[in-house]
Amino acid sequence: MAVCARGLRAVRGGKSVLDGIDLEVSPGQVVGLLGPSGSGKTTLLRAIVGVQANVSGEVQALGLPAGSSALRRRIGYATQAASIYLDLTVMQNLRHFAALAGLRGTAARKAAHEAVDAVGLGAQAGQRAGTLSGGERSRTSLAATLVGDPELLVLDEPTVGLDPVLRRDLWNLFHRLARQGRTLLVSSHVMDEATRCDRLVLLRQGAILADTTPPELLAQTGAPDAEAAFLALIDAAGGVR
């Protein structure tokens, strides 16, 4: 299993954010983690990466307890906000994160160039990150995750604020990585993106509302699109939106 969680709970500021999550993800899948803001997506991703405090229950990534030091070179995590050095160039950022992933010299240079091309920022490689647009910054942050070629990629809203062409390109990239055996956990609050995943996990109020595939979701709810399907599921669960 690439990811395995059992009875995962998390508490933040005295409030329960994750309320007993059970989740298994097999390698080579692109799993979309969807849900409204505040549903616990980021906390779940952070628990899997092993950086969330106050979690209970069981979480494993790549067969090891989440947060194990042996996992740090095998998991790539891109936070929701672009966590890059704005005073350095795109290439300097990538070279730095390549070095932290254990790459040296020409291998580091090659990985940085591949990552910058993968997110379509080749033309901006020499530009300082602080002068980039919001979307370009978030792609630089994504590239910093790709540069170490991790087995498990945990991406928190990587496509937010991007235009449709870029979004399509990135989803194609995610599937290409999955075909190479990588596992991707991708969160989004844009329901349209659901249809691009192999598998959908819908999260609401810290619990899994549905764990399904895009065709199943539509068939099950009879809804015309993912957003309507999600709303139908919430209504069926009898909750507040």
């Binding site: 990466v49 092993g50 106050n54 995590y77 936070t79 672009a82 994160f97 932290l100 910093a144």
Partner: protein
């Protein structure tokens, strides 16, 4: 070790884009030393205060710069990302200390050179004066990294400087001889590292040798280690 070097290289690259900060760090101490030299021209005051400034500036400036830099790492999310990589906490602290320590050597050379130029007399070893200035810079660096953990915002990070540095300046023995201080302040003076830096520098200016200042230098070195450990302890892989 290689991750320490990668961190140091990254910090220096960031600094290299901020030319104005670099210029301020190098030239500001010279300006102050120059003002003192000008004001007390023809008196021995510079001989007394010159060493204090040479010891104080690296501590003061490096504390300020590193506490703000680390606060920026925390608020920008880069620290969170670093903590998901195989970078060890010690690598991060040592990387910062290495980068700013290297920079501090240049600062120490510039400020000591300038102080000599405007008339400060140093009877002892110049190499030891620069060593003390460098140790002060490393101390400022590790204390700054530790202090940034207490600060939630950049405003608070800046305020850590007067909190940590100014009491040391007041009790270091320059404003009042230590044996005339109230008992508690005298104890404080005997614990704080700046006291030992100023003492060593004043002795060196008066012609002291390594043997005379090795105890004081040892105390500063212990404080650097303590600051580095404290800075490492404040870094958390798991956060709320």
């Amino acid at each position: 070790m290689s991750l320490t070097l990668a961190t140091a290289r990254r910090v220096l690259a960031q600094l290299s884009y901020d030319r104005r900060t670099v210029a301020l760090i190098l030239l500001l101490p010279c300006l102050i030393v120059g003002l003192v030299a000008w004001m007390f021209h023809g008196t021995p005051v510079l001989d007394q205060f010159g060493p204090v400034l040479v010891g104080f500036f690296p501590l003061f400036v490096m504390f300020l710069v590193t506490s703000v830099a680390m606060q920026r790492e925390r608020s920008s999310g880069t620290l969170e990302r670093l903590m998901t990589t195989s970078l060890r906490k010690g690598d991060l602290v040592a990387g910062y200390a290495l980068a700013f320590g290297g920079f501090a050597v240049v600062q120490a050379l510039v400020v000591v050179g300038f102080a000599l130029l405007v008339g400060m007399d140093v009877a002892g070893s110049l190499g030891l004066v620069i060593l003390v200035a460098l140790l002060d810079a490393l101390l400022g660096c590790t204390l700054g990294l530790a202090a940034s953990a207490v600060a939630r915002t950049e405003f608070q990070a800046v305020q850590m400087m007067p909190l940590v540095i100014i009491p040391q300046l007041i009790t270091c023995g320059v404003l009042m001889p230590r044996d005339q201080m109230p008992q508690v302040l005298e104890w404080l003076s005997r614990v704080m590292p700046l006291t030992y830096a100023v003492e060593a520098l004043q002795h060196l200016a008066a012609g002291a040798t390594w043997r005379d200042v090795q105890g004081a230098i040892g105390v500063i070195a212990l404080w650097i280690v303590g600051g580095a450990v404290l800075a490492g302890l404040t870094l958390r892989r798991r956060t709320q």
